[in-house]
Amino acid sequence: MDGIFKNNPVFIILLGLCPTLAVSSSLKNALGMGCAATFVLISSNIIISLNRKIIPANVRIPAYITVIATFVTIVELVMKAYFPALNEKLGIFIPLIVVNCIILGRAEAFASKNNVLDSILDGIGSGTGFTLALLLIAFVRELLGNGSLWDIPVSSGFKPMLVFILPAGAFFTLGILLAFFNYMRERNKL
């Protein structure tokens, strides 16, 4: 369960940054992306952990990529069929879950060495950490940039700052949140 706070994939290890920045402009997108990535993470962890004694060491990376790509294709087809609006918004970032370093990283570092049950728990932990990080960034960006939360306007007197919806705002938000987490860690150490 280290993946949620102590080893949060986004804020501490800086993995999976592209989807984090790109889909965090609203809470809905962030939750959709988080769920999709968590599903792929847990399923690929299960398959890789089950086959960890069969996969030869020197072709392990292509093997992992194939397993991950299979589950991403499943997610793509399900999204297209049941959540067409979300699919339209996330666009190219759904197939790009394949190259999300969090998933390949967990496969390589954890699932290839541990049994199925532990791998599932690890998948849930890292997936939740990723989703929470996405939601936190999306919370800031949607609130400041659009004046709403979950598409519901918060207050009529508030004039939204457009910059937070734009790409620049994503970089600023993540940079400032990172600085905040660094500060908290420094202070807890002392």
Binding site: L15, L17, L21, T73, P95, N182, E186
Partner: protein, 216 residues
């Protein structure tokens, strides 16, 4: 494709739709390899090279293996001669493209080591990192989704890939230049902001500057 359209597409994908600063593709290597100018240039060159090659391969796969058309290889082998719409394998794009990129990177590495050791020395260490660079798969998928009409599609794929690669190189070289200068004043910066947090804020400022090309 006319020469005018070529430059227009190139400029749009380098400046207006810059891969890193406005489309969020390839952020991981952008943050990781931008500490020094020479390694940033090496990474940029490797990305341009692999992106262009990967787009050419994607064109072959897309037109002869995945899209339902009279040219589809599976249709020619197993079809009944007139109904090719059943041979639509476009849902396999993700898996086919990522495996072809992984194989391509491996091949390029082996070839370079054998035939152009000087170039291998220059780009070698960046090549393995490129398989999981989402900019490569990103440009291939964007190409496939944007340019669906048959006329001159290969050239459009290649132009867009070249532009995306140049845009990535431009962004990473600017960032590396700024970070090298930043080392001289690092002691004036508050401790929690040093390192990645500051890099993100600089990237935000660059992104704002590039927005000028869109014309906000």
């Amino acid at each position: 494709m006319s020469i005018g359209l070529f430059f227009q597409m190139l400029i749009i994908s380098v400046f207006v739709n810059n891969f890193v600063l406005s489309q969020f593709l390839g952020i991981c290597p952008y943050m990781g390899v931008s500490k020094r100018l020479d390694s940033a240039i090496g990474m940029g060159a490797a990305v341009i090279f692999v992106m262009t090659l990967a787009s050419a391969i994607a064109w072959i796969l897309e037109s002869y293996f995945l899209l339902p058309s009279p040219n589809n290889i599976w249709f020619m082998l197993f079809g009944d001669g007139n109904n090719y719409s059943a041979f639509d394998f476009t849902y396999l794009r993700t898996i086919v493209f990522i495996l072809s990129i992984a194989a391509l990177v491996q091949l390029v590495e082996t070839f370079m080591k054998k035939f152009t050791p000087a170039m291998y020395e220059l780009l070698g260490i960046y090549l393995p990192l490129i398989t999981t660079n989402c900019a490569i798969l990103g440009v291939v998928l964007l190409n496939v989704k944007t340019f669906t009409s048959g006329e001159g599609r290969l050239l459009k794929y290649l132009t867009n890939a070249l532009g995306a690669g140049l845009g990535f190189t431009l962004a990473i070289v600017i960032m590396a230049g700024i970070r090298e200068r930043m080392d001289e004043v690092i002691q004036y910066i508050p401790k929690p902001l040093r390192g990645s947090a500051l890099t993100f804020i600089i990237a935000g400022l660059l992104s704002l500057a590039f927005m000028g090309f869109v014309g906000f």
